[in-house]
Every structure is written in structure tokens, then in C-alpha cells.
């Protein structure tokens, strides 16, 4: 039975020879000829010309020959669909053969011939085979349905095969069940919404029974299918877990991992205090460790999965550190993965061992591995504080080896260690500096430059060192250039006397000779900053940096959850969701872990999280540019832009927003106001919705412009009046929300104010809290500024049947820090149907948080019955202070300094006052007219006003005389911060 010669046959004329042999009478000869044909086919020769001759051999009772012919058919039928029809008859006949092996073979092969005409003929035989008495035929037919579905989904549905397939789940033969499950799962994947695999407790029970009896492969199909089921409650979840755990002892690692997947998923539903939960956790560890003694390829898959499992449930393997130690002969892909897991498992308890190992690895041959080992040492230092010192000394030892890539890698990680433990290990800087010349990788150079800049005051020759880098400035990569720029500016701020020349050099290099916009812009920012106010620059550039986090490169939690649902599959190997590498709709549904019964630990979905907070604080609409701005600022001021881990957060996505707030805000405040960061920041507890908006840009809370923060004459402009006042000083007119006009309307609501005395404008009272909502308490009110004091004037009406007493009031944080200046003075109880007027003086020194709309105020009122919440909007004008009149010269100078592109214009219609009347009316509201000009019949009023938090607003009011329905045509607002 030596087939070897077939492989050596050479082409010309051979087709004819084969043709002759195929048509030979002798069976043996025929078979040999078909073998030769198949051999040629395998090596890629085109033997499709022999199609009719081969098909002629099909009618034989020799099973082997038949199989060969079928093999040929599967390959060529598609290219010769017309001739393939010739085979149909034989197929149909074979499907009736008394031998079940032949019946199955025929139906199996027919499914593989992807020719429409043939599929039509397939339906009848398939239907019969699905109900065949022999399980072998049925299990083959089950898979065939999936094949047919792949060719023609509609046909499968029309013919009702899906129902037959569903019936097969209850088949008596376990293998039939397994194949039916596999086929159904595949079909269901391409119909994400169909309820095809209708998993209910009964079917689950059937599957679990079949699980004990079918082949290893069948067990995998069933387990993978089970993983898609969501149990109704923790009891069901537990009982499934109990029946799945025995699979953990299976020799086939795919069975084991699929079982792990089911358990990991269903465990989410178990209450944590359950004994069984603990038992299960303990049961999971040994099989996972055993996977590591499998063949290297399987080890690799297992390790990639363990990486996920460890992130989700670190407790499972926390005592198993040793098994992840790298063996000398492990393939490199296994080594790298083990290293990753070692870092994840590193803790105070095992750090000594881990470090000893890592040091050993750093002397190995493979460059990638060594680098990763060095990096791992750094990560250990950051993760386990107690070990930091030892890690640093290990790194120093490694630097002494002078192996180039080791040194470079070590410097990169030492930089991160500095970020985590500032001012602790500067003693090593000297050693680092010795290796300056050997650094040739951008990342290492950038890290070194950052270190020099950061600790410039302690390095005597910092200027020389940086200067040496500057020589080849244009040949450096952007990363290094940016770092160099920042470092030199830092150096300048620390040692201004000796380094002026250097800083000028680098600034001109960055701004004039570079065509990289990032570099240029950063250069300009520094330049302006330094030339306007070095003190501010110092506070900006040398601001304290947030510490970097300990856990790096964690997978983002929602992705992790999805990947946990895909344990064992390619997705878990790539650490990517299936949609990232699978084409079409297949497998693109996102899977989620089921919610947990006992604990809130399983990451509440973002929606529910925000829903809870909504009633209290309406979600802040965040300007879209914020994102960009945040990035830009982050880039600018967090020195080691390349350090990989973003500052601060400890747990991925949700904290991402916080992080941006942390880093971004500080920078923002620093940059634009040259002021130290405001301690109070918008953070999660106050606005829970914030942290849930995933691509959350930093929120511009007015905190930043709070009183007393303005250290220098840095300008900030707000494009609009009214609501825009408190908004942060950035150029983003488009992002301003509609309520702007609301504020303006109020302010310029001059027409309606006929009967009002000269004085601050105050809107009429409106109902803030209807009685319906407050158990009979109705509150109406307004805001007013009276004699320099902001007052909240309220009428409390008791519409209930009982007496109300014990009134108290409280405000939520708001944009301008409004807070009650004293307690609510309601001394007498309010009887039924009684009203009482109260005036509450307000101060502006309360806690600040940006509201949306800006002038929104959330109030809580308490009485003996309950606490009630309402929100109201105050007119911006009540925040204008009495000393808002600016000196003419100052006004002029300031006006000029503000470029035109930040003007906002607004029109006010139906104003029946002349310019003088308007001016005096506005003055009543502390809007002061500084100058008046008449140009071409237009009166232009230049006005200034100052807000309680010290922001100046400049406005220009144009009044078209002679227009009865005259228009206030333009308002230009400038927000300006003067001390």
C-alpha cells in the first residue's frame, strides 16, 4: 500500500493517461487512478478536466473508492456546478443504502458540495437522515443542517430543519445531542435575536445528562453552549456548577477550560458568603495549574486565559506563584505570558521569591524576554511598596551589567518608580547619568531626560547634560524632543540664572525650526508662560504631579467581563472581543457576565449607576471639545507623557474620568489661571453620573475660577454673557448650552420693567415647589439683590391639613458657591392654609460645583414632615457686585487685549427704552456703563460688571436709535480675571 509514487508524477500527458485508467474495467486500476488524481489535487494541480471520468467511478460498492471520489467532488464541484449534478443521483441513492456508514457518508459529503442545484436535492435525504434509526447517521445529519444553513439559511428555515434539530437535543444518543447543540449554537450565532437555542431548565438538564456520556468533543460543545445560559437564580446556578465541576478532572484541556468558563460565569450569581462559593474557588485552582503541564501550545492558551481569570478573581491563584516560574526550556511565548502573570500575582508575601526569579531572567538570552523581566521588576516596585527599595537595588545591579538594552529598560522603569515614590531614590541618579551615552532608544532617552529635568536642582551638571541632548535636537524622535523641551523649562525655572540661554535655544528650536505641531504648540505655551509671568509658570510647570497607579495594563472591566465569557476561545487568546477579528455578524454579540445576587461587586451597569443619581443632580452636559482640551493639557503638563500608565486611577475605566479630572483639571487651572490647583474638585460622590460617562472629558467645574484663585493677569475669555460667566475660560463658543439666552433675557428684560423702582432687577416669584410634590408645602420665590446682599425671597404656603414647623434649608453645591448666610427664619409654625414670607440672605462662599444650566440651584427644604427637593434658577444679574465699575483706561486696555474671535453676540428684541434709560436701568442691576459713543446713529454703550467670584465681564451694547422696535444688537462679553 505504498502511495508514494503518486506524489512524484509529473504533468504533461498525464491527464490522458489518468483518463484511460479511470475508465478501465479493473477496479484496482480505477482506484489507483483516483488516488493519483487526489494526489495531484492535493499538491495544487488542476485535475478538474477529469471530472466526468471521476464521477463515473462513484457508483461502486467499494467504500474506500467512494470516499476518494467524494473527496474529489468536494473540491471541484463548485468550479463545475453543471457536471456536479451528475453526481446527485448517486448521492440520493446512497442516502438509502442499508449500510449506515454509507448513508452518513453521502449526507455528509452532499453538505460539503456547495452548489445550489445540489442543495435542492439535499433536502429530502437530509430530512430522512435526521430521523434515521442509526445514531451515526443522525449525528452526521445534525451537522449537515449547519452546513446547509451556511449555504442557504432561508432554505433551512423554510424546510423546518431547525425544529427537527431542536428535537435532536432530546435524542437518546449523547453524540447526536452534542452535534445538534453544536449546529444550533452556530446557527444561533448568525441570528443573534432569534430564540433558536431556547435554553430553559429542562433543556439544560438534558444537556447536563448528555455531558456525562458523550465524547470529549461533545462535552466541549455542550459546555460552550451552557456558558450562554443565564440561570434564573443562585440555586439553579449552584446546581449547574455542581454538575459541571467533575469535568475539571478531564484529560482534555479544552473540556477543562470550557468547564472553567461555565463556572467563572455562573459563580457571579452565587452569594459570596455561601460555603459553596469558597469550595468552588478552591476547586478551580488545581485544574488551572495542571493545564501548565500540557504541551506548550496549550500552555500558551491556558496562560492567556489565566491572565484573564487572575484579573477577574485574583484569589483563585494567589498561592500558586511558583508554577508560573519560567523554565529555561519554555518556548518564548510561554515565558512572556508567565512573566505577565507573575507580576499580577506579586504581593508582599511572595515578592522576595519573585524578585529573585526576575533577576535571574534578566540575564537570559532572548532580548524581548529580558526587557520584559526588567520592566517587571519596576512594576513590582510600584505594586508592592515594601519591595521598592529592593527592586531599585536590583535594577541598579542590572544597570551595572552594562548590557545595553537592560540598561535602557531599567532607566525607563526607574522613571516610573520616581513617579510613584518621589524624592525617595534620587541617590541612584548618579548611576543613571553614567549611562547617558549608551542610551539610543527614544523611550529610554526620554525617560532619562525627564529624570534630569525633574531633579534638575540636585544634579549639578543638569544643564550640561541637557545641552548635550540639545545638539542633535532635530534628529531626536518627537517623544524625546517634547521631553527635552519640558525638562529644560523645568531646569530654567529651578536655576534661572545659568540657563537662560539654554531655554531660549530650546524654545526657538521648538517653535521656529520644528514642523511638529505638538512640539511647536508646547513651545509657544511655555514661551508665553515664561514671558508673562515666571511665577505662574513655575506653579504650572513644577506643579506637584499625581502619583502613578500601581496596576498597569489591566484590561478594561467591561472588556474583561466579555472576555471571561469567551474563555478558551480565540478571543481570550487575543484578548480582544470577537468583533475585532471575526468578519460579518457571526459571534459579534457582546456577552456579559450575569449580575450577581449577593454582592454589588459585579460592576453595575453604567446605566443603572447614573439613573440613581439623576433625580438629585441632572447630568452635566459636557462640552465635546473638553475631550480634546483635556488631552492637550494632559499632554502638556504631565511630564512623562510616554510613561505609559496614566496617572492616578486604580481600576480602569470608571476611574478614567476621575483620572482625567485629576490630571487634566490641575493642569487646566494651572495653565490658564496660573493658580495652584483648587483643592475641591468635582468628584464621584457629588456627581455620580460623571464617573459613568465613559468617554468622559474633564468637567469644567467653576471651582477653577473660584474666588481668590487668580494669581496673575492671565486672560481667560468667555464667549457669552449670562450663563457663560462662570464657565471656564476657554475658547469654545460652540459648546455653550442654550440657557445662555435665558440669562440674557432676564438681564435685559427691560421692556417689562415699567413699574419697577430703580434698583436691581428681580424676576417675579414663581412656584418652585408645588404642593402636590411636597405633601402640602408650596414654595414660591425669587432672587433679588438688595443693598448688596443676595436674597432668596420665598413664600411658604401650607396647603396641608396639619401644622408645619421646624423649617430648615440647604443648598447643593452650585456654580457660584451660593449658600444660606443664616438659618431659615421661620419662627412661628405655619398653620393650614397659612402663608409666610421669608427672605433668606445668601453668601457666595459655599462649596462650588458647576451646574447645568449654570445658574441652576438645587435646594433642599426640611420641615417636620419630610425633606423636599427642588431646583430653581437664579438670574445671573444678582451676582453682579456693586463695585463693578471699571476704570476707563483699564477698560480700554483690557478691551484691546482681548481678540475678537471670542466675542459672542446676542440680540435683544422689543426694547422700548433709549440708550440712556437702558443704561440707568442696567446700572440698577450693577451693570455699569463706562463709556458711550454714537456712530452712524447707533449708540454704543460700553459696560462692565463684576461677578461675586471676581470675574469681570465687559460688554458692548449697541442701540439703534429711531427704530421703535429697537434692537440691542451686540453684546460682547469678556471675562477677565484680575486678582
Amino acid at each position: 500500500m505504498c502511495d508514494f509514487p503518486f506524489f512524484s508524477l509529473v504533468c504533461t500527458g498525464e491527464i490522458f493517461e489518468l483518463k484511460a485508467e479511470l475508465n478501465s474495467d479493473k477496479k484496482e486500476k480505477k482506484k489507483e487512478a483516483v488516488k493519483k488524481v487526489i494526489a495531484s489535487m492535493t499538491v495544487g494541480k488542476d485535475v478538474s478536466a477529469l471530472f466526468p471520468d471521476v464521477v463515473n467511478c462513484m457508483q461502486t460498492d467499494n467504500l474506500e473508492l467512494k470516499k476518494l471520489v467524494y473527496l474529489y467532488l468536494m473540491n471541484y464541484a463548485k468550479s463545475q456546478p453543471d457536471m456536479a449534478i451528475m453526481a446527485v443521483n448517486t448521492f440520493v441513492k446512497d442516502c438509502e443504502d442499508p449500510n449506515p456508514l454509507i448513508r452518513a457518508l453521502a449526507v455528509r459529503t452532499m453538505g460539503c458540495i456547495r452548489v445550489d442545484k445540489i442543495t435542492e436535492y439535499l433536502c429530502e435525504p437530509l430530512r430522512k437522515c435526521l430521523k434515521d434509526e442509526d445514531p451515526y447517521v443522525r449525528k452526521t445529519a445534525a451537522v449537515c443542517v449547519a452546513k446547509l444553513h451556511d449555504i442557504n439559511a432561508q432554505l433551512v428555515e423554510d424546510q423546518g430543519f431547525l425544529d427537527t434539530l431542536k428535537d435532536l437535543i432530546s435524542d437518546s444518543n449523547p453524540m447526536v445531542v452534542a452535534n445538534a447543540v453544536a449546529a444550533l449554537s452556530e446557527i444561533a450565532e448568525s441570528h443573534p435575536n432569534s430564540n433558536l437555542l431556547d435554553l430553559n431548565p429542562q433543556t439544560i438538564n438534558k444537556l447536563l445528562t448528555a455531558l456525562n456520556e458523550c465524547t470529549e468533543w461533545g462535552q466541549i460543545f455542550i459546555l460552550d453552549c451552557l456558558a450562554n445560559y443565564t440561570p434564573r437564580d443562585d440555586r439553579e446556578s449552584q446546581s449547574i456548577c455542581e454538575r459541571v465541576t467533575p469535568r475539571l478532572s478531564h484529560a482534555n484541556s479544552a473540556v477543562v477550560l470550557s468547564a472553567v468558563k461555565v463556572l467563572m460565569k455562573f459563580m457571579e450569581m452565587l452569594p459570596k458568603d455561601l460555603d459553596y462559593y469558597g469550595t468552588l474557588l478552591k476547586k478551580l485552582a488545581p485544574p488551572l495549574v495542571t493545564l501548565l503541564s500540557a504541551e506548550p501550545e496549550l500552555q500558551y492558551v491556558a496562560l492567556r486565559n489565566i491572565n484573564l481569570i487572575v484579573q477577574r478573581r485574583p484569589e483563585i491563584l494567589k498561592h500558586e506563584m511558583k508554577v508560573f516560574f519560567v523554565k529555561y526550556n519554555d518556548p518564548i511565548y510561554v515565558k512572556l505570558e508567565k512573566l505577565d502573570i507573575m507580576i499580577r500575582l506579586a504581593s508582599q508575601a511572595n515578592i522576595a521569591q519573585v524578585l529573585a526569579e526576575l533577576k535571574e531572567y534578566a540575564t537570559e538570552v532572548d532580548v524581548d524576554f529580558v526587557r520584559k523581566a526588567v520592566r517587571a521588576i519596576g512594576r513590582c516596585a510600584i505594586k508592592v511598596e515594601q519591595s521598592a527599595e529592593r527592586c531599585v537595588s536590583t535594577l541598579l545591579d542590572l544597570i551595572q551589567t552594562k548590557v545595553n538594552y537592560v540598561v535602557q529598560e531599567a532607566i525607563v522603569v526607574i522613571k516610573d518608580i520616581f513617579r510613584k515614590y518621589p524624592n525617595k531614590y534620587e541617590s541612584v541618579i548618579a548611576t543613571l547619568c553614567e549611562n547617558l551615552d549608551s542610551l539610543d532608544e527614544p523611550e529610554a532617552r526620554a525617560a532619562m531626560i525627564w529624570i534630569v529635568g525633574e531633579y534638575a536642582e540636585r544634579i549639578d551638571n543638569a544643564d550640561e547634560l541637557l545641552e548635550s541632548f540639545l545638539e542633535g535636537f532635530h534628529d531626536e524622535s518627537t517623544q524625546v524632543q517634547l521631553q527635552l523641551l519640558t525638562a529644560i523649562v523645568k531646569l530654567f525655572l529651578k536655576k534661572p540664572t545659568e540657563t537662560q540661554e539654554l531655554v531660549q535655544q530650546v524654545l526657538s528650536l521648538a517653535t521656529q525650526d520644528s514642523d511638529n505641531p505638538d512640539l511647536r504648540d508646547r513651545g509657544y505655551i511655555y514661551w508665553r508662560l515664561l514671558s508673562t509671568d515666571p511665577v505662574a509658570a513655575k506653579e504650572v510647570v513644577l506643579a506637584e504631579k499625581p502619583l502613578i497607579s500601581e496596576e498597569t495594563d489591566l484590561i478594561e472591566p467591561t472588556l474583561l467581563e466579555e472576555l471571561i465569557c469567551h474563555i478558551g476561545t480565540l478571543a481570550s487568546v487575543y484578548h480582544k472581543p470577537p468583533s475585532a477579528f471575526v468578519e460579518g455578524s457571526r459571534g459579534v454579540q457582546h456577552k456579559r457576565l450575569p449580575g450577581s445576587a449577593g454582592s454589588g461587586e459585579s460592576a453595575d451597569s453604567p446605566d443603572t449607576g447614573s439613573a440613581a443619581g439623576v433625580s438629585e443632580a441632572p447630568p452635566a452636559v459636557i462640552p465635546s471639545q473638553g475631550d480634546l482640551l483635556g488631552d492637550l493639557l494632559n499632554l502638556d503638563l504631565t511630564p512623562p507623557t510616554t510613561s505609559g500608565p496614566p496617572p492616578a486611577p486604580s481600576s480602569g475605566m470608571q476611574m478614567g474620568a476621575m483620572d482625567l479630572l485629576g490630571g487634566g483639571l490641575d493642569s487646566l487651572v494651572g495653565l490658564l489661571h496660573a493658580a495652584p490647583p483648587v483643592p475641591q474638585r468635582t468628584d464621584t460622590p457629588q456627581s455620580p453620573q460623571l464617573s459613568h460617562q465613559s468617554p468622559s472629558p474633564p468637567d469644567y467645574s467653576p471651582t477653577e475660577v473660584g474666588p481668590g484663585d487668580h494669581a496673575g493677569p492671565v486672560k481667560a475669555r468667555s464667549p457669552a454673557m449670562g450663563a457663560g460667566f462662570g464657565a471656564p475660560p476657554t475658547a469654545m463658543p460652540a459648546s455653550f448650552p442654550p440657557p445662555v439666552s435665558g440669562g440674557l433675557d432676564d438681564l435685559f428684560d427691560l421692556g417689562g420693567s415699567v413699574g419697577m423702582p430703580m434698583g436691581a432687577y428681580s424676576p417675579p416669584k414663581s412656584i418652585w415647589l408645588p404642593a402636590m410634590k411636597a405633601k402640602g408645602l408650596e414654595i414660591s420665590g425669587t432672587f433679588a439683590r438688595r443693598a448688596g446682599v443676595i436674597q432668596m425671597e420665598m413664600t411658604l404656603t401650607n396647603k396641608a391639613m396639619s401644622i408645619m414647623t421646624d423649617f430648615a434649608i440647604q443648598f447643593n453645591r452650585n456654580s457660584f458657591g451660593l449658600a444660606p448666610a443664616g438659618p431659615l427664619q421661620v419662627l412661628t409654625p405655619v398653620g393650614p392654609n397659612q402663608s409666610i414670607e421669608v427672605a433668606l440672605p445668601l453668601s457666595t462662599v459655599g462649596p462650588v460645583m458647576k451646574m447645568e444650566p449654570l445658574t441652576n440651584l438645587q435646594v433642599a427644604v426640611k420641615n417636620n414632615i419630610d425633606v423636599f427637593y427642588f431646583s430653581s434658577q437664579y438670574p445671573i444679574s444678582m451676582l453682579f457686585v456693586e463695585d463693578g465699575k471699571m476704570e476707563r483706561q483699564v477698560f480700554l486696555a483690557t478691551w484691546k487685549d482681548i481678540p475678537n474671535d471670542n466675542e459672542a453676540q446676542f440680540q435683544i428684541k422689543d426694547c422700548h427704552l433709549n440708550s440712556d434709560a437702558a443704561s440707568s436701568k442696567l446700572q440698577g442691576s450693577n451693570v455699569f456703563t463706562i463709556a458711550k459713543r454714537t456712530v452712524e446713529g447707533q449708540d454704543m454703550l460700553y459696560q462692565s460688571m463684576k461677578l461675586t467670584n471676581g470675574i469681570w465681564v465687559l460688554a458692548e451694547l449697541r442701540v439703534q436709535a429711531g427704530n421703535p422696535n429697537y434692537t440691542v444688537s451686540t453684546v460682547v462679553c469678556h471675562v477677565l480675571c484680575l486678582c
Binding site: D3, L68, D134, V143, M175, W217, L257, L298, F325, G568
Partner: protein, 459 residues
Amino acid sequence: MIGGLFIYNHKGEVLISRVYRDDIGEAGLKAEQPIISRSVPKPVSCLKRNAVDAFRVNVIHARQQVRSPVTNIARTSFFHVKRSNIWLAAVTKQNVNATMVFEFLYKMCDVMSAYFGKISEENVKNNFVLIYELLDEILDFGYPQNSETGALKTFITQQGIKSQVPTKEEQSQITSQVTGQIGWRREGIKYRRNELFLDVLESVNLLMSPQGQVLSAHVSGRVVMKSYLSGMPECKFGMNDKIVIDKQGKGGGSEEAAKSGKQSIAIDDCTFHQCVRLSKFDSERSISFIPPDGDYELMRYRTTKDIILPFRVIPLVREVGRTKLEVKVVIKSNFKSSLLAQKIEVRIPTPLNTSGVQLICMKGKAKYKASENAIVWKIKRMAGMKESQISAEIELLPTNDKKKWARPPISMNFEVPFAPSGLKVRYLKVFEPKLNYSDHDVIKWVRYIGRSGIYETRC
């Protein structure tokens, strides 16, 4: 699921190609370059490579060492394993169960070896028809089907010519076996002599620091059986598993428990052949099964506690100047003196710039193998509680290489006639209710072999 399966030789030529799914196939086969007449160069327009070529170019012919057994090229994933010079690659475009694909590839190798021995280019070429037939049977539309050799051999035979049409009973017996609960055994097996061979094969792994501290040690063991039993026997296997013995101890009195507890071992984890009833093991920890006929691996296990380390390696490396290295290695055998270890081999790595080596050893033969950068010291036999020593002087060529020699660990190979984990077989009972032979009639052979796995001492 698996979209296609290819077998390549080391040159990257396709020996076997079976496409199960359209998404990867078609183009792959049509544009496949003939491997024999390679004269026609591909036009530039063909640069869009198909699956078969993509794997050849990106993996087999890749310049760099393979960095992962799973490769994604143009949204197509390739899984590969290598057996000697042969590459087996499974291809898919879907999110398949990766573990299953690798398990399947190994299984495929097992099946092929069971049919025609070693997997070599020649054997694959000689048996290509058989391989196609097997692939057709064990992988349907990319779903692995029954892959038990025992079952397959009943109906896929290369002596297919003897195809006297099987009787109807035979046919249904075949199909019920292939699909049935006991897919690994057929009915009606008869032996004159009922015999059982049981081998406990252990490989002991060690990583030791130069100071003699055990960094990690574990035993991975296998229980391999050969059974020649008639009928459908029910077997029960027992060993000195601590959990079982403790359980029995509770019932039988504390003295016995203490006595046997000393000899019992703690098994960290074990996995079983699919014939073992896992649910029974899970609940009662008893290992019961209907064995396949012939060779099979009953269980695998792993232990980490109280391992008997058969050898201790004590290295002494001294650098004498920049051009000389003195190495002394002592090995001590640490088991009963009545037992003999065999096939002992100590491998001492030498630096790359070694120019010459002088060796003195008390026992066995030692040789410097320049091509392997190692001194290989072989001892045929060594009794327990003995000690032997080798000393070497290594001359080095002076180099400018700043990088220090990495000092790979000293590794050891050996074979000992006991189980380093301490595992003992307590019983193996056979029940065959239908045929009239009892447990006593079965001849049972038990053998323990401990081998070195990765047995390394750092120096």
C-alpha cells in the same frame, strides 16, 4: 469552527489540505502553487496571498523564531503544532475554541501515529489517502467527532480491500460504538489469558538554586495501562491518595489512619481518560471505568508535596581570570541503596567562547560537545546513597563581548525504578459480571518508573 486543516513539510509544501469551510478555502486551493514544477514565478498581481501561502510565508518561512502558536494573518487565525519536520496547521476565521483546536491537533497526531507510526514527510505522503479518510471522519464541518483510535480502527482500515461487505449487525455495532456511550471499546472482545499491565510513569521536575534551595519541584505522573481483558469489564483502581485514605481512616480507627497516612500522598490535581466516570470520582473519589482495549493513559496527576528528589546536584563554578573557568559538579543519589538508577546524564553548559575543555570524572564517561555548548557526562548505572563527581577546566577565548555569560542551569536526566511522588497502587479490581472470570484470574503487572522531567540546578 475549524475552517481547514493543512499539513506542510518543512519547506512549506502542502502535503495534505482539507478545507471544511468556504471562508478560508477556495482561493486557497485554486491559487495554490504547484510544489513540484515551481518554475512559473507568480505575477505581482497575485500578491494577495491565500491562506495556504500566508501561513507558509508568515510562519514556516518567517525569519524570526515563532512568537506564538496562534497567528492572525489578515483576519484569519492559524493554529499550528510541529511534529519533527511536519507542520500541522488549523485555519479558521471564527472565534473558535482555541483549546479545542490544539487538543484536536494533538489528537490528530496521536491518531496518525496509531495508524502509521512516526509522523514524517514520507509517512504522510505514503498514507495520504488514509489521512483524508480519517480527516473526513474525525472532523465534520470543522467539528471534531469521535477520535478514539480503537473505534476508528473498526471501520477505517487501509486494508479496505478486504471489504467483504460487513453484515448488518456488524455495521450497527460499529455505528453504535462510534456514537455510543462507550465509544472507546467494542463488545465481544475475547482473550484466552486476561492480562493487565499497569505502569506508573512519573517525571520529576526540579529547579534548585546554586545553594541547594528548592525553588520549585513537582512530579507529573501518568498511569498508563495495557489491558487485554475479555468482555466489558468494570475496573476499579485505587492508590494511596491521601483524601481516600483519610476518609477510610475515619471509619477504620485512628491508628490505621496514622499508619497509612504516612505513606499516603497528597495529589494536587488529576485528570482522567474519558472512560473514567468523573462524577463518581467527584463524589466518592473512586476511580472506576470500563477500559479501552490495548494501550491507553488512564490518568495524569501532579503532586508537589513530599517529593523524593532522586538526585542532588552540587555545582561549583569558579572563574579564573578572563580565559579560564573551573567547574566541579557533585551528584548524590538519594534513594534506597538497593535500587539502581539508570541512564544518568548530566549536562553542564559551557560558555559560547569555550576553546577547550579538560575533564576528570570518577565514574561514567564525560565528553565536551562543542556543537551543543555543553559537557555531557553519562553514567550507566548508579546505586542509591552514592556520590560521584566531575571536574572540568574550561579554556575560554578572550572576547570583547561585554555581556556576561548567562550561565544556563545544569540539567540532569535519569531513570529510577520507583515513583518519586510516593504513589503506590493499592488495588486494581476487575469485574466482569457476564463472563465467568473473576478478579483473581486476571494477571496483573505493575511497574514504577520515575524519570527526570526538567531537572535543573542553577549554577
